[in-house]
């Protein structure tokens, strides 16, 4: 077992793609033990042989359709009408647009790319501090995986045998609180920043109405997806397929920004991104099967229980561990590697698996803005032509406020479990 872990760590450090780092270390261990090698192929097949997990390619495709189909622009226009009159207007607009994009798309990076390519130019023209603005757009991108729909939540739910619907609902309250925290960061920064940030457009009810009507098709998406799942109308996979259909209808027939010709390239892109995620699911399942068969979680749990029996202490330790991992590793792969080890330990501390899972997702979303590897930070700074290092100096304020919400969620489980218990009390698995 030690060999597996050491090989895995070496492979990761020298930059091996994670799908192979998991596969190679697992296959190496299997070849040393008396187990047939076909278990590797079998596990990889089993990882893909699932109707539930089909939600991933569909959500990825729906996200790409929305990114290219003009939905982001309408959401930003509506956000401008909604909060553009407050001090620090553009920063607040970016955050509200972040909430909107999180509610239609399954990933953080896609929405960050859309928002930063539209908004950064105007922020520059109005002489906003560009590094803070970039950091803030990146921070708004962390809402993506927490607010449903979310690819990270689908992966979390399937790896820890939770209902996807409950996981989605569990992210709503923490996600909105995170958004609120980011807005406070905008306001505080803008207040201290001087006159530049007070250059606002006056509030206009007519404009709010007009932009709202233009954005209605975009708002139909979360209603169909989340409402459909809560109401028991669709399974998550069906909801994701319906999201693809809705996205196509909206982009092609209502916003008229793309045509049928755009479909093959979007499908290919979605296929490649999903394959990158789902191949890791396959090799990670071999890896975690080995870890579990060696009783690693139980060993760690015993060690921890000797030190403390307090679930809160465990959760705090876990937060620091995951923030650290999030600095170097992409979220979905981190879930696939860490959750099979951490979840049994969490349950041994009598922590609710859903509460635990949402905390994991929040941690790894925060990992998207922590250097050196933070995907939304990277995307936003490359759009602005700034280096990640320059932007990271300004990330402190939004980071610490989001971190405060993470701490609040850690000590207050009902924040996660209240909505799922209210709407989907009896659902165990979709």
């Amino acid at each position: 077992m030690t060999v597996t872990l050491i090989v895995f760590l070496i492979l990761i450090v020298i930059g091996t793609p994670i799908v192979f780092a998991l596969g190679v270390s697992a296959a190496l261990t299997i070849s040393m033990m008396d187990i047939p090698m076909s278990i590797v192929s079998q596990r990889m097949y089993a990882g893909l042989d699932s109707f539930t997990i089909m939600a991933i390619p569909f959500f990825v495709l729906a996200g790409i359709i929305m990114e290219r189909g003009g939905i982001a622009k309408r959401i930003i226009d509506f956000s401008v009408a909604l909060v553009g009159w407050i001090t620090g207007s553009l920063l607040l607009v970016a955050t509200v647009a972040g909430i909107g994009m999180a509610a239609v798309s399954g990933s953080g990076a896609a929405s960050t790319a859309a928002i930063s390519s539209i908004m950064l130019r105007e922020m520059r023209e109005r002489c906003y501090n560009i590094d803070f603005s970039v950091g803030l757009i990146a921070a708004a991108g962390t809402l993506g995986p927490v607010i449903p729909p979310s690819i990270m939540m689908v992966v979390l739910a399937t790896t820890s045998n939770l209902s996807i619907g409950r996981a989605f609902l569990g992210g709503v309250a923490p996600g909105l609180l995170m958004a609120f925290a980011i807005m406070i960061a905008c306001y505080v920064y803008a207040k201290r920043g001087g006159d530049v940030y007070r250059d606002n457009e006056p509030f206009s009810l007519r404009r709010l109405g007009r932009t709202f009507i233009a954005a209605i098709p975009a708002f139909i998406m979360p209603v169909v997806i989340v409402g459909g799942i809560i109401g028991g109308i669709f399974t998550p996979t069906e909801a994701a397929a319906v999201a693809v259909l809705c996205g196509l209808i909206i982009s092609i027939y209502i916003y008229k920004e793309i045509g049928f010709k755009a479909i093959p390239s979007m499908v290919l892109r979605a296929a490649a991104i999903s394959a990158a995620v789902m191949m890791i699911i396959g090799t990670a399942s071999v890896f975690s099967w080995l870890i579990a068969s060696q009783n690693v979680p139980a060993l760690i749990a015993d060690l921890l229980h000797e030190a403390t029996n307090n679930p809160l202490v465990f959760l705090l330790l876990m937060n620091f561990l995951l923030i650290f991992i999030g600095m170097f590793m992409e979220g979905i792969s981190a879930i696939l590697v860490m959750v099979p080890v951490l979840l049994p330990i969490a349950t041994s501390f009598e922590i609710d698996p859903l509460h635990f899972g949402v905390i994991v997702v929040m941690n790894l979303s925060i990992g998207m803005i922590t250097p050196p590897y933070g995907i939304t930070l990277y995307v936003a700074s490359s759009v602005a032509n700034r280096s990640v290092l320059q932007v990271s100096r300004k990330i402190g304020l939004p980071f610490s406020l989001i971190f405060a919400i993470l701490m609040l969620t850690t000590i207050w489980p009902e924040l996660v479990t209240y909505l799922p218990d209210l709407f989907l009390p009896n659902v165990i698995i979709d």
Binding site: V40, S41, M44, M54, V60, A271, I273, V277, I375
Partner: protein, 177 residues
């Protein structure tokens, strides 16, 4: 001799391009079937009040084929994530050496998985799927074919990375979901 070597390269390039084109359309086809089958299932349940079991089963098989073929496509687009924060600071010659060092165990793993999947296909000749009684070697066959294509794209990516060891690392981050 030199001319011969060149013409071999040209032919190899054409074969690769043709193979990629076939893979591209297969992937689009499987993805499209998957989406339509799931939507048909929804429509069947609510409009015609008729449960279509075969839709879920065939959609899952299409997913298996789609993902395994797209693994190579993802390799080509440099979408397989890795932790490169630590290696990015290394000088170019060492990075080049590392790409080769990394590729060796990866190819070994693919080889093991391909061999293992042949065993599965043998079993698949006697198994059938629960709903449509489809012989299971049909979905299992996606494993060796997808993994061989994955390996091919891995080898081809070495050429790209050799020429530009740092650029590709940046590209992969930009494209990830």
């Amino acid at each position: 001799m030199v001319v011969n070597f060149k013409s071999i390269l040209i032919i190899a390039g054409k074969v690769t391009a043709g193979l990629r084109l076939i893979m591209t359309w297969l992937i689009i086809g499987f993805f499209g079937y998957m989406a339509i089958a799931v939507l048909v299932q929804v429509v069947g349940r609510y409009v015609f009040n008729y449960s279509i079991d075969w839709a879920a089963e065939t959609a899952t098989f299409a997913q298996i084929w789609m993902i395994l073929l797209a693994a190579g496509l993802a390799m080509r687009s440099n979408l397989h994530v890795s932790v490169d924060a630590l290696t990015n600071i290394l000088p170019v010659p060492i990075l080049r050496l590392l790409t080769i060092v990394i590729a060796v165990p990866c190819l070994w793993f693919l080889w093991k998985a391909i061999v293992g999947s042949i065993v599965l296909i043998d079993i698949g000749h006697i198994q059938t799927s629960p709903v449509l009684q489809i012989p299971m070697w049909i979905p299992y066959l996606a494993l060796p074919i997808g993994l061989i294509y994955f390996g091919l794209e891995l080898v081809l990516s070495l050429v790209v990375k050799w020429k530009d060891p740092k650029g590709s690392a940046v590209e992969s981050e930009k494209l990830t979901a």
